[in-house]
């Protein structure tokens, strides 16, 4: 890491604040578990793109660790899946668990391949 610790903290924090606000904005427009799936897929696409781009450690901390890290969420996903298992059944929970993984993984790979293709 080339950024000084205090600068790194500020970059990650500002990116995290923007990521959390963006996730909240999506959550106000899209119903609960669908919004978690949506932010996890979109944020993974963005992280794939950021990871493949030649942007340096400053932008990587702000956009990758901060924004994409905070825009996506594991805790809301885990709590939502456990609740679905109890309220709707194991099949509903398995669908949520599998769809988040499949969508986020495909989005991450797509984001990184697209940027790698453009950057050459």
């Amino acid at each position: 890491m080339t950024a000084a610790p205090l600068l790194a903290t500020a970059l990650v924090g500002v990116g995290g604040a923007l990521g959390a606000v963006s996730r909240h904005a999506v959550g106000l427009r899209v119903e609960g578990r669908r919004s978690v799936l949506l932010v996890n897929a979109l944020g993974s696409f963005a992280l794939g793109a950021v990871s493949a781009a030649p942007i340096g450690s400053t932008a990587a901390l702000l956009l990758g660790v901060g924004f994409c890290g905070a825009f996506t969420t594991f805790s809301s996903f885990a709590v939502g899946t456990v609740r679905a298992a109890s309220e709707t059944g194991a099949r509903a929970a398995a669908t949520i668990a599998a769809s988040n993984l499949a969508a986020a993984l495909a989005a991450f790979l797509l984001g990184s391949f697209l940027v790698a293709a453009v950057v050459g």
Partner: protein, 134 residues
């Protein structure tokens, strides 16, 4: 509350703290693993820490969110601690990125362990908060 500027400010402040805490855990866990692996082979040192900090943050955050959502006393607390801090402390994008970086079969094991421990942690958090199965 959740649509007001004040609500967004609470989410932003929580998001700042959650992301900074996750980064600190990531750096701290990687340093601890590097110290523990000192003196052993460089291959272990080079490959092992990937994803370890993210796993710790995701599991701890899932427990805490389960507890919070059953116990949150107000919208203010839910927005600041839940939507802001804990949801930003945990991450799905970095989890996927780490799984890809680990390759096969380590990445598949990383996903399986993260899912299993994350779900157990969330269930324990919900139970500790007094949430009842229906």
């Amino acid at each position: 509350m959740e649509r007001t500027p004040y609500g967004f400010l609470l989410v932003a402040a929580g998001g700042f703290l959650g992301a900074v805490a996750r980064h600190a855990v990531d750096v701290g866990v990687a340093a601890a693993l590097a110290a523990a692996a000192a003196g052993t082979s460089p291959e272990i040192l080079g490959g092992f820490p990937t994803g370890a900090g993210t796993l710790v943050a995701n599991v701890a955050g899932s427990f805490a969110l389960g507890l919070l959502l059953t116990r949150a006393s107000s919208d203010r607390v839910r927005l600041f601690v839940g939507t802001g801090a804990l949801s930003s402390f945990t991450t799905y994008s970095t989890f996927v990125s780490d799984a890809v970086a680990l390759g096969t079969p380590a990445g598949a094991w990383y996903v399986a362990v993260s899912y299993a421990t994350g779900f157990v942690a969330a269930a324990l958090g919900l139970a500790a908060g007094g949430w009842r199965r229906r």
